[in-house]
């Protein structure tokens, strides 16, 4: 069986809240030892999917297997094997860093001798040694995040679920954080991380893009760029607003995104000569600009798949 190859699989995983479909028939195959990303805007169902995979929410339909165990029936057995860092800080704010980690080490019933050394090891690793007496509630965003990660990895889980772990963290800390994730992955931990940062998604081995509860694309960042159904055209103009105005009526263009003085334009692959389409429009409007075709980045992929889906729904 291919069971051993995948840490997480799901078939038609669905969750409804009343009439809202928060997660809609999501199929997943997440290989072991990889960092797998969930990329999606607010409300796209990232947290809900992670909660179902942890066995915290019961799926309305479909099923999921984590380490070969069914999340509906064997969630208790799974608890010992998975770590979960919640989107919202969920350690005890009125307890110190040390007290929190000690509590976690006891709740996982780690044997007495290793408890102390493991906590000390994590304090060292996550640079919290100088803060052991500080109340968790008074830590900075980055410190809280490191404490939460320390708590989630204390029992050396085989799978780590991280729900938007870097939302309150500065760029330097984010880099360090990802270093740690790669270390963990190298040691064999499978990591599922949700994010709405493109640069973070680009670091994942593989990722799924979620939009309104639907998985609209998945693959490695490179594959996603290759498979995108659009050409990406970059326009550099002195007055990007003029250029934008000239292009906005063009029916073949599915989206225009402004990045400083540059515009990134998506045109479906069924149209050939995308550069010419854009240049001729700009020429008609007498706008002076440089036009070139570029390799899609994740943001382009994201815009392309979500726009395509919106159009498909509208049609």
């Amino acid at each position: 069986m291919s069971d051993s190859e995948f840490a997480i699989t799901s078939q038609g995983l669905t969750r409804r809240f009343g009439s809202l479909i928060a997660v809609n028939e999501v199929d997943l195959k997440i290989p072991r030892g990889q960092i797998y990303g969930f990329l999606g805007p607010n409300g796209s169902g990232k947290s809900t999917t992670i909660r179902m995979l942890c066995g915290l929410l019961t799926p309305s339909a479909g099923s999921a297997q984590v380490l070969g165990m069914d999340t509906r029936k064997e969630s208790e057995k799974l608890k010992q094997l998975i770590g979960y860092m919640t989107q919202r800080f969920s350690l005890f704010e009125d307890m110190s860093v040390m007290e929190n980690l000690r509590f976690i080490s006891e709740i996982y019933a780690i044997d007495r001798k290793s408890r102390k050394t493991r906590v000390a090891e994590l304090l060292e690793k996550f640079d919290l040694s100088s803060r052991i007496k500080q109340k968790a509630g008074t830590l900075s965003g980055g410190q809280k995040q490191r404490l939460a990660l320390a708590a989630a990895t204390l029992h050396k889980p085989k799978i780590l679920f991280l729900d938007e772990p870097t939302s309150a963290v500065d760029p330097q800390n984010r880099r360090d954080f990802w270093e740690t994730l790669f270390e963990l992955a190298e040691q064999g931990t499978t990591i599922l991380v949700s994010t709405h940062y493109m640069d973070e998604a680009a670091r994942c081995h593989r990722l799924a893009i979620l939009d309104q509860g639907v998985k609209v694309a998945d693959g490695s960042p490179r594959e996603l760029g290759n498979e995108i159904h659009s050409h990406v055209i970059e326009v550099s103009a002195e007055d990007p607003n003029l250029a934008r105005a000239a292009l906005v009526d063009e029916a073949k263009i599915i989206s225009i995104t402004q990045l400083g003085v540059r515009l990134r334009i998506l045109i479906p692959k069924e149209f050939s000569g995308p550069v010419e389409i854009v240049s001729s429009r700009l020429g008609q409007a007498n706008v002076d600009a440089e036009v070139e075709q570029v390799f899609p980045d994740l943001e382009d992929v994201f815009v392309a798949v979500t726009e395509l889906r919106r159009e498909a729904i509208a049609a």
């Binding site: 915290l56 307890m95 007290e99």
Partner: protein, 366 residues
């Protein structure tokens, strides 16, 4: 073994958080003291249908007429007839009746001669309201039809005030307050302790760990048992110092009964916490239990004086049973086991509430 480690972990965490929560900690000590002072004076009300029993050693026409007369007043409700004063005492002791009527065998002669009292009312005087009722009954006239022109004479009926000869209301209030305060704090604290973790997001972390539901519940309950016992000691000792409330029964009985009652209320609190989503909801539900407990349990008004419907409601309140127990033990020196049925009722409450709480609490968010 692992279970024990986890229960202790939860317990220690609760203690830690409690010791940091100044306000709650203050309430643990403050509530009993403030309430004790507040309820220092009782509220008097009219009552009817107090349980009574009589022993008629005379058994003459006149004595039977007297009993008929006294029960026609509807203030008391005669439930038993016994054959000796001693049996009346026993019924008073175990709380079956509030008033005992004793008629000696020379009743007729006493009525004619009017030299000594002809009837004794034996009263559980710890309840000032009952005592008032007894005083009222002494005005019932007793005379042979042939005895004309006798002035209404209260000398014929004597009130024997048992347990509370000085007629102090605090004597009755203080043990009752033990139950009220324990209900208030125990139900509220546990209910809020769990709901707070839901609100703060800690619950999502906890339910993702291997901790089992009963482990989590037990770990959360234990610290509060300890707190309940502290409150018990505060109320009883303050009651003794401030109001000289006696302690007639065995301390061990008080301890055991209170322990059972505390556990019952904690289980109720847990059950509430599994139903409510916010701390505010939890508080509302706790008050939903607390209010009828105060009003109907016999703490404020004598149980027998309440309408039948209210009595039925009162029977499903743990405080009603606890009040009977604690008053019996503290004020009348009764043996806990002589009221075993009340103990069974409390244990049943606890068992049902705890089972429901554990069944309802599932380690999921949906």
């Amino acid at each position: 073994m692992k279970s024990l480690i986890r229960i202790f972990a939860v317990m220690r965490k609760e203690f830690l958080q409690l010791s940091r929560d100044r306000l709650t900690f203050g309430m643990i000590v403050g509530i009993p003291l403030i309430q004790l002072l507040m309820f220092g004076y009782a509220i008097n009300t009219d009552v009817r249908n107090l349980s009574a029993a009589y022993s008629d050693e005379a058994d003459t026409h006149l004595s039977r007429e007297f009993i008929a007369e006294i029960s026609a007043s509807q203030v008391i409700n005669i439930r038993h007839r016994v054959s000796s004063a001693q049996e009346l005492n026993q019924l008073l002791d175990n709380g079956t009746i509030s008033i005992g009527i004793y008629i000696p065998d020379d009743f007729d002669r006493r009525v004619i001669n009017r030299d000594r009292q002809a009837v004794q009312l034996l009263v559980d005087g710890t309840d000032p309201i009952i005592l008032g009722v007894a005083q009222q009954l002494t005005s019932i006239p007793i005379a042979f039809d042939s005895q004309t022109s006798i002035r209404p004479d209260s000398n014929l009926i004597e009130v024997r005030n048992y347990y509370n000869p000085e007629r102090r209301s605090a004597v009755n209030i203080v043990p009752g307050l033990v139950g009220v305060i324990l209900t208030m704090t125990m139900v509220l604290f546990t209910a809020v302790a769990i709901v707070r973790e839901k609100e703060r997001g800690n619950m999502e972390l906890l339910i993702n760990t291997p901790v089992k539901t009963p482990e989590l519940m037990l770990g959360k309950i234990f610290p509060y048992i300890f707190i309940g016992l502290i409150q018990l000691v505060i109320i009883l000792s303050a009651g003794r110092i401030l109001f000289s409330v006696p302690m007639r029964g065995s301390g061990l009985d008080v301890f055991a009964t209170s322990l059972l009652f505390i556990a019952t209320n904690l289980s109720l609190g847990l059950l509430i916490s599994t139903i409510s989503k916010t701390q505010f909801q939890a508080m509302q539900m706790a008050f939903f239990i607390l209010l009828p407990s105060i009003l109907l349990s016999g703490f404020m008004f004598p149980f027998d004086g309440m309408p039948v419907a209210a009595q039925y409601i009162a029977e499903v309140l743990p405080l009603t049973h606890f009040n009977r127990l604690i008053r019996g033990i503290v004020l009348r020196g009764a043996d806990m086991m002589s009221m075993w049925d009340e103990l069974v009722a409390l244990a049943a409450f606890m068992f049902i509430a705890l089972t429901l709480a554990i069944a309802r609490f599932n380690k999921r968010l949906d």
